[in-house]
Structures are given as C-alpha cells and as structure tokens.
Amino acid sequence: MNDEFTTLAEEFARDPKSLVFLEIGERLRRDGRLEAAVRVALSGLERHPSLAAAHDLYARILVDIGDYDRARQIWTNILVREPRHIGALKGLGYLCFWAKDLDGALDHLELALSVDPTDQSVVQGLKMVREAVTEPVEEPSEDGPRPADRAFRGLDGAGRGLLLVDAHGRVLGGRLDAPLAGEVTEPVAAYLAGAAQEAERSARMLDLGDWRWLVAEAATANLHVSAPDADTLLLVMRDRSVPAGRLARLAERAAEAARTWLEE
C-alpha cells in the first residue's frame, strides 16, 4: 500500500495537473491524515475548480473534520450543476440521516441508487434508513420505559450513544447508533470487554495502578470507556465535534446514573 501511495505521489510530482490527487487525497482521508488531505484537495481544486469530484473529495474530508455545514453546502452546489452526482447524493443522504431527516436521506439515497444500482454503500445506507423509517415508535408501556432506557433516563444521548455492558460483553443497558453503520449495540458490546481487559492489563503490567478510563478518537466519532463498578463497562460515543473534556463530563454523569440504576 505504501508502494502504491509512493507511486501515486511520484505520478503527481511528475504531472501536477493530473487527477491522481483525487486518489491521494482520498487515501490520506482514510488514513486520518486530514490536514494533508485538505492540502491535497485544495491544491487540486486550484487547478481544477470546476471538477465535481474534487469538490466531492473536499466535502468528504470536511465531514471527517466535523464541518458538516460546509460539506452540505459543497454537495448542494455540486447537485446544482450535476443533479445526478452520486458522491454528492450519498453525502447529503448520510448528512440527512445523521440529522434524523429520514425523508431527506431516503430522497437522496434512492436517487443515488438509481444512478448506480451496484453501489453497495448506497444499498447498505438505504437499508439502514428504511429500517429507521419503519421502526415502530415506542409507546410508553404500563411498566415504563425499557430497562435499557431506564439506565440513562434523562441523559443526553441516552437512546443512541450510551452503552452499559457486563464484563463478558453482554448488554445491560443503553444503545449505540453509529453514524454510518446504524445500530451497533451488540457487536460493539462484544468487543468492548476485550478492549477494557486490555486497558486493565496494560495499566497493571506497567505499574500504572487501576485504569480509570480510555478515550479513543476515531475518524467519525470519539469513544470514552470507563468502569462504573467492578463488573460493568460504560461506553459513551459522540461525534467528533464534542470535545474530549465534555465527553469526560458526559461519561461521569452516565457512570453515576448507571451505578444508581444498578443498585435499584
């Protein structure tokens, strides 16, 4: 992969007007090197200001940075010139979905599917949105909210970004909805226990004392893992616009709520 990247970079150096910058920028974006990706995209846009693919690349990078408004504007502008541009349709579809605008998400993704019925990311995206559309609205039962909701009742993100699991990776409460993957509660719970065990092992073997929390910043979201008590793990997930300090505060409040709920 590095060799391929070097080849691309060499090609770009030989011919700065070539469109290889699109591939380079996308690779940098996927690699999380967003500042470099921005430089490449903007450099490409200088040479190819009317190239929709270059604007599309820049919008995807902006999404990774967390600047959804500018990304939305860029994709909207692309559609003015090219109403069936699949990258812009997909981008706006996902932005609508994250903003809970399911009708908007359906409109954009269905149009994207009509442009390329073989695009698996569109197929999966549409499946996720349609499931969200048909999901029955939960009416409060006589017994009150589900246990999963009771654990974090009243907390910001209770229905989508807070997860309580036991030491074996079994869900105790909460739910996780990921920006692209939809609900990922069960699979994330399964892997979370392994990550926490590794955190505990690392702290112990390096003589750092008890582990307190673990923060992982990924391309589209930040994760905060802690242990409200000896037998449970708490995961708080928020998009990258939420600063680490605020994430830690949210986690503290959620841990307190979890402890109270577990003692009930």
Partner: protein, 117 residues
C-alpha cells in the same frame, strides 16, 4: 527510519511535562522501532501492551464503522499511556505520570508521525 530528525522529534515528546518515555512501535507485533526512555521504563512491555490495546480499540471502532482510531489515551491511577497511529504501520507511543500534559504530548507525537510520512 531512525534518522536524526526522527530521534529529535521523539526526544521532543519526552520533554513534555510528565512524559517518561516515547517510542515508535510496529503496530502489527508491538516491537520497538525507536525509543527515548527514562530509567526504569520497560520499553518492550510498553510497546507490546500499547500495540495490543490499539488493536483492541480498532476492533471496536471498525465494528461501528467509525474509521481508524487516530488517538488513544489510557488514563490510570498513577500513569498515562497515549498512542498515535502513524504512517508505515507504526505507532507513536508515550508513557508517563498521571499528570502528563496529554495535549502537548499529542502535538509532539503528531509531529513524529509527520516525520514518518
């Protein structure tokens, strides 16, 4: 890879308050590639554990389709472990006290990663 520029960048990480050691670690097997450690820091153990922790966290992030983990911060009672993935399948790792200036350490670690790019 262990050029003087790289070593200088690693050294700058260890100047940050609370940092007791900084190293480059092969992400795949946790082997130390380069290191600047204070006395008493077990570099090979830090490297192996940091790589393993990074893999576990990447599994969680990949499962949720969140993209690759770009920064990892383990806070413990008496210490801190920070990991920044770099190009060439390498991790930049820093270990230090619980009071480590993580923000500054992160900036210097990103510079190490840039040297590798």
């Amino acid at each position: 890879m262990a050029s003087s520029r790289l070593q200088e960048a690693l050294d700058r990480v260890t100047v940050v308050g609370g940092v007791r050691g900084a190293m480059l670690v092969a992400a795949a097997d946790g082997i130390v590639v380069a290191e600047t450690l204070m006395e008493g820091v077990r570099g090979s153990a830090v490297a192996a554990l940091a790589a393993s922790l990074a893999r576990r966290c990447n599994l969680v992030a990949e499962t949720a389709e969140l993209g690759a983990v770009r920064f990892l911060h383990l806070q413990a009672e008496r210490g801190t472990l920070v990991v920044v993935p770099a190009p060439r399948e390498v991790l930049v790792v820093a270990v230090g006290s619980a009071e480590m200036n993580v923000g500054l350490a992160r900036l210097e670690m990103l510079k190490v990663a840039e040297v590798l790019a």
